[in-house]
Subunit: 420 residues, 2 copies
Amino acid sequence: MTDNTTGKSRRAFLKGAAMTGVGLAAGQANAASPDPLITEVQPWASGLGDGVDAAPYGMPIEYEDDVVRRNVEWLTADTISSINFTPIHALDGTITPQGCAFERHHSGAIELKKEDYRLMINGMVDQPLVFTYADLERFPRENHVYFCECAANTGMEWAGAQLNGAQFTHGMIHNMEYTGVPLRTLLEEAGYDTAGKWVYVEGADASSNGRSIPMEKALDDVLVAFKANGEALRKEHGYPVRLVVPGWEGNMWVKWIRRIEVANAPVESREETSKYTDVLANGVARKWTWEMDAKSVVTSPSPQAPISHGKGPLVISGLAWSGRGAIKRVDVSVDGGKTWQTARLAKPGEKMALTRFYLDTEWNGEEMLLQSRAMDETGYVQPTKAQLREVRGLNSIYHNNCIQTWLVRANGEAENVEVS
Amino acid sequence: MTDNTTGKSRRAFLKGAAMTGVGLAAGQANAASPDPLITEVQPWASGLGDGVDAAPYGMPIEYEDDVVRRNVEWLTADTISSINFTPIHALDGTITPQGCAFERHHSGAIELKKEDYRLMINGMVDQPLVFTYADLERFPRENHVYFCECAANTGMEWAGAQLNGAQFTHGMIHNMEYTGVPLRTLLEEAGYDTAGKWVYVEGADASSNGRSIPMEKALDDVLVAFKANGEALRKEHGYPVRLVVPGWEGNMWVKWIRRIEVANAPVESREETSKYTDVLANGVARKWTWEMDAKSVVTSPSPQAPISHGKGPLVISGLAWSGRGAIKRVDVSVDGGKTWQTARLAKPGEKMALTRFYLDTEWNGEEMLLQSRAMDETGYVQPTKAQLREVRGLNSIYHNNCIQTWLVRANGEAENVEVS
């Protein structure tokens, strides 16, 4: 960007762009109407701030207290068997801090001390075993960043545009760096019978939330995890130990995991028959729909993150993911899917982890129908809502991975809409 | 690990290992003396837990309330110009949650609203510019995981073994995923004069903490960052905007950054003359010692994380990093550096980011002199304390990257010691 004739560089990216906060032509210092925040000594530059003992555990600053998990009161009968949503509209990058990572409980978040923790492996094994927390720490550990998405994420959108904000339409997802022991290691320790084609996993909470997992997956990449983003798990995410089932629906990531039974058939539990199955238009239910299909959403601008400036440079940003591997490409449309531009991925996609995408663009100040569509390494392309309905009908709750549309108005505000 | 003759698999990793919490031969279910935590219904399995509205922002569970930043009272005269330490002994993986990431202030952590935030670029530029926070959000962003290490980390160890715990000897470090705008982009926007070989950067706090940075580095990988691990920065880490200077000493990562001046010479400020220079044995001070040398430390076992079980399987774990690029290899010694074993890296090292290493070993129950040594992609090998002292003498405070030794006793307790 250097102009070699003058020895100067200049991008003038914001030159002539709409005015922002200080009322200057973007970014320019203005001698004629000086900004007191520049010309005057401010209290924070002339006094002392907080000492290092102010907070042993640091919390977000008060000005960010709207960046929190939120539930939707009318969605569930009570808060015990309920859900809240990650504020994805206000986050950037890919890591989700534990403090704002969504929760989903079937009988509430239980309090279970490490000393009281036990994990049993039984069924078709050479030797049934019971592990304490301290036992688990003696096995070789792995670290992996994975997304966890509730199968019901975006579920309210089957029938139409319901919830106004990316937090509520797509916020049943989080993405953390897990540390744990491969389930394979523990199954080998117990001496699993290779005739056992399934494991049945259950949690220590009252719901138990039992699920059947094919042995092939159990031996592949499932983790018995005790840390997320370096720290102990939060209570609401299964402290002290939860299952991590990469790419598969969040319901299978059993929290407070207490038992793993090796079996030769699935249990067909409540959570995999009357729940977490998808009734098609003809009344037949799809089951064993474990993998989360490739999906994406624009997080900014979005209904909770409107454009606060006028036309000119605009960063459109969002998240993409796939339960079948790495994200390869994300396209963005500003005209409801008529034309598409390929977004920039902040980093090459990683398997079963969130990918951040950006489209650095110029906004003409006119209304947009904003969409994104993800493509994963299998070649799968995220479908439109119409395409998804054609195959699945309108009865489903789970596994809605359709392209999301935000109508962005000329004033920068956005809302959740359907396009035909 | 499958035994094809029986159709069973068995690792028996913990078989015969010392007993742990439940008083069983590791992990084995014991019918003779049943564990009531297995045989009886527990309260958490028969009642309801907390609902999803219990905490909009989730905090660590009460049982983890010792996993916090701590300061050392006698180290500084007050807490305003002071330091606290990341509890690295209790963390795993590589990401440091903001809530437990160390703080270092020169005049306290200030409170600065996004609306009040201004960033000036002036000096040898075509057009001096003042950016608001909203302006910054309109430039293309990047995401990178980087470590930030205070130059004084391990500084108390020059003279001898001083502080008893990895948190205190090596806890002036954190590792986060940053989102921000490359400084290069903003310098280009202002039209920097290519004759300007330096930038001088200062913060909005009373100390201003001004530092000179070579233009080559400023144009390379420095970020003007506003998010860490997805969220807004914590107040104590520079909310709303800080500088990220990958691989270079933490003091240069100016918090609450308010001004960047393009200049043809360094300022030689307080923070780069009387402070953050290293007086050698002959009285001459090394200066411009920006890069953090390759370093590592065993975080577990360590004085704050003793071995809680007897002999048998033991996971030795720690962190390694280099300001000059990626970590290539980490070796671990249990005999004070006489013999070394190569540790397993949880992932291939990434540039200027923490790398987690593990040595999955068998402990014979005897005393160990535990050490780790890091090697980076430049071929540099972390030195012993004796080697470092030979070159640098004993006057230094900063840039102590020597090999750390923990004496682990037969009872599992550990302490900070020196070996000759």
